[in-house]
């Protein structure tokens, strides 16, 4: 536990000051390797169509799925393409899933003038009992029915179904399987307790400043300016801070100034300017003391499509002077002290939440790991860069820590795989709403929340 890291000779705050103030050096950074090269886009061209990314996804995941299918249903099952199906023959087909949803927001419906329809308001979930599942491979598509949970699955998943084609042309599914956990990475974790702080959703620039006190408390704890020597020696074991997205609040995204008259908006500046200045000051305090990795999120000033590129260092002039600040992509992958971290700022999980019946963020996180893909809904309902050569969101190696930011609550789970994989799944809560951050212990892959609350007028 984090609080057990206190040095045994630490004195409390009420002790008289000692002649020589004790110092607690922060544990040194022993191994850091940034592995997010697949998510860094150099020169971007949007001339390619999205058919390429789906084709590459299917071609890339097909061998792994065929192996899984053989392991599960026997080595002698027939693997067929949709064009080779014969009615009544039990076989296995690998393909991409498409869920036809009636409520799915469609730009064509919105601009269809003859219907005079008001655009559909954003709903929390777009699922309906009448949704249908369709399996597509390179050439054909077929409707699926049977032992497959239509509500739970989302478009873009690659899976293998086992069953037979019926006379009416539909495929009756008896069983289905996903790509399962990717192969494990060797474990080179640290021998002593080292902690990484995961926080997301700082939400700077919001109208209410309630979370600012908690943010300042967080910074003070990490930099060792809070508490007595006991807490300071604990904080010295934090080797890194990862801020997983949504550093700015959603309020900074308001574009009312576009609709107003020019003379009214002459002197106003975007709310994000002030918020980024605040972010710079907070990061400056953190960077002087601990390495910080900053991932962009949904409301941050970077591109909208996944993978989001790092924030530009010109926005953070004070903090970029320090080498401890690393501006990284979303999704982010890195080796910290031999432990492989992989995580996103939560857009992939919340998008699956909207189009699936799964309600628990941790359950969705686990499901994406078992499906072998970080964000299967990517070009369909979540903006994605049109890759043509390879799909970087396919999971090829199993990370040791897999996190997603901006979840409604903190949850964590240690997942054990059949081939010896050990993954710590962490849903990092939204700091502006819950004032909770997470501390991950790299030594034994445990995680605990740390909550900062100030006593306000309305607290009990």
């Amino acid at each position: 536990m984090f609080s057990e890291q206190a040095a045994p000779t630490a004195q409390g705050l009420l002790a008289p000051p000692s002649a020589k103030a004790p110092t607690f050096p922060r544990v040194p950074v022993s191994g850091y390797l940034d592995c997010s090269q697949p998510f860094q886009l150099g020169e971007r061209s949007f001339s390619w169509q999205y058919a390429h990314i789906y084709a590459v996804r299917l071609a890339g995941m097909r061998p792994g799925l065929e192996r899984c299918a053989r392991r599960r249903w026997g080595n002698d099952i027939a693997l067929r393409k949709l064009s080779e199906l014969q009615a009544g023959e039990k076989c296995c087909v690998v393909g991409t899933l498409f869920k036809a949803m009636q409520l799915q927001p469609s730009i064509l419906q919105e601009i269809s003038e003859e219907h005079n329809l008001v655009p559909q308001p954003p709903l929390p979930k777009y699922i309906q009992p009448s949704d249908k599942l369709i399996l597509e491979d390179e050439l054909q598509r077929i409707k699926l029915e049977g032992a497959i949970d239509v509500q739970r699955l989302v478009t873009g998943t690659i899976l293998a179904v086992y069953g037979s084609e019926q006379d009416d042309g539909r495929f009756l599914v008896e069983d289905h399987c996903f790509a399962d956990l990717p192969p494990p990475l060797p474990w080179n974790g640290p021998s002593s307790n080292r902690f990484v702080l995961l926080a997301s959703g700082l939400g700077l620039g919001s109208v209410s400043g309630e979370a600012l006190l908690s943010t300042q408390l967080l910074v003070d704890v990490v930099t060792g300016q809070l508490g007595a020597e006991g807490e300071q020696s604990c904080a010295a074991h934090i080797t890194r801070v990862i801020l997983a997205g949504n550093l700015l609040s959603q309020n900074t995204q308001s574009r009312d100034t576009i609709n107003k008259a020019k003379y009214l908006t002459k002197k106003t500046q975007a709310a994000s300017v002030e918020a980024v200045k605040m972010l710079d000051e907070i990061l400056l305090q953190l960077c002087t003391s601990v390495p910080v990795d900053v991932m962009p999120g949904e409301f941050d000033p970077t591109n909208y499509t996944l993978p989001q590129q790092p924030l530009h260092r010109c926005m953070l002039p004070l903090a970029s002077a320090y080498a401890t600040l690393r501006l990284v992509t979303n999704p982010y992958q890195a080796n910290l002290d031999g432990v492989r971290f992989l995580g996103t700022s939560g857009q992939n999980i919340s998008d699956i939440f909207k189009y699936s019946s799964m309600d628990d963020y941790l359950e969705i996180l686990e499901w994406t790991l078992l499906a072998g893909h970080i964000s299967p809904t990517a070009p369909d309902t979540l903006g994605c860069y049109p890759f043509y050569k390879s799909d970087p969101f396919i999971l090829t190696e199993c990370p040791h820590v897999y996190f997603c930011g901006n979840a409604p609550h903190f949850q964590s789970k240690l997942l054990q795989g059949k081939e010896g994989q050990r993954v710590l799944l962490v849903t990092v809560p939204d700091f502006s709403a819950t004032q909770t951050a997470c501390l991950v212990n790299l030594h034994d892959l445990t995680c605990q929340p740390i909550t900062f609350s100030g006593f306000g007028a309305d607290s009990e």
């Binding site: 020169e43 061209s45 001339s47 061998p63 050569k389």
Partner: protein, 118 residues
């Protein structure tokens, strides 16, 4: 003054020569103009590079339309060949040799189009 002096008289406009590896997106807009330009260059250096024969173009067209290697629109044939190679689909290497041999000819490097539209 016979005609008004223009700034381009003192700074003559020089059209930049297009290299062989330009991204296909830009080329799509100015494809016809570029084709005309490159064809002019081709005829000037035609003795060194023989024009591709129709059998070669037919083989490349069949490579484009074979579904195993994924969609063919918007990328050069060489990019598609290399992508298929990396995915382990083992495309025939004779196609690659042909593409590299005629890499200056846009009829060979890009997908066969009809009426200039992709």
């Amino acid at each position: 003054m016979s005609q008004p002096r223009r700034i381009t008289d003192s700074f003559p406009r020089r059209l930049r020569r297009r290299g062989p590896g330009r991204p296909p997106g830009r080329l799509k807009d100015k494809k016809d103009k570029d084709k005309v330009q490159v064809k002019v260059q081709d005829s000037s250096c035609s003795p060194s590079q023989p024009a591709p024969d129709p059998a070669l173009l037919e083989m490349l067209r069949r490579f484009d339309l074979s579904w195993e290697y994924g969609p063919c629109t918007g990328i050069t044939r060489l990019q598609r060949w290399e992508r298929a190679q990396e995915l382990g689909l083992s495309p025939p290497s004779s196609i690659r040799d042909a593409l590299l041999e005629h890499r200056d000819n846009p009829d060979v490097t890009y997908r066969w189009v009809w009426d200039g539209m992709v």
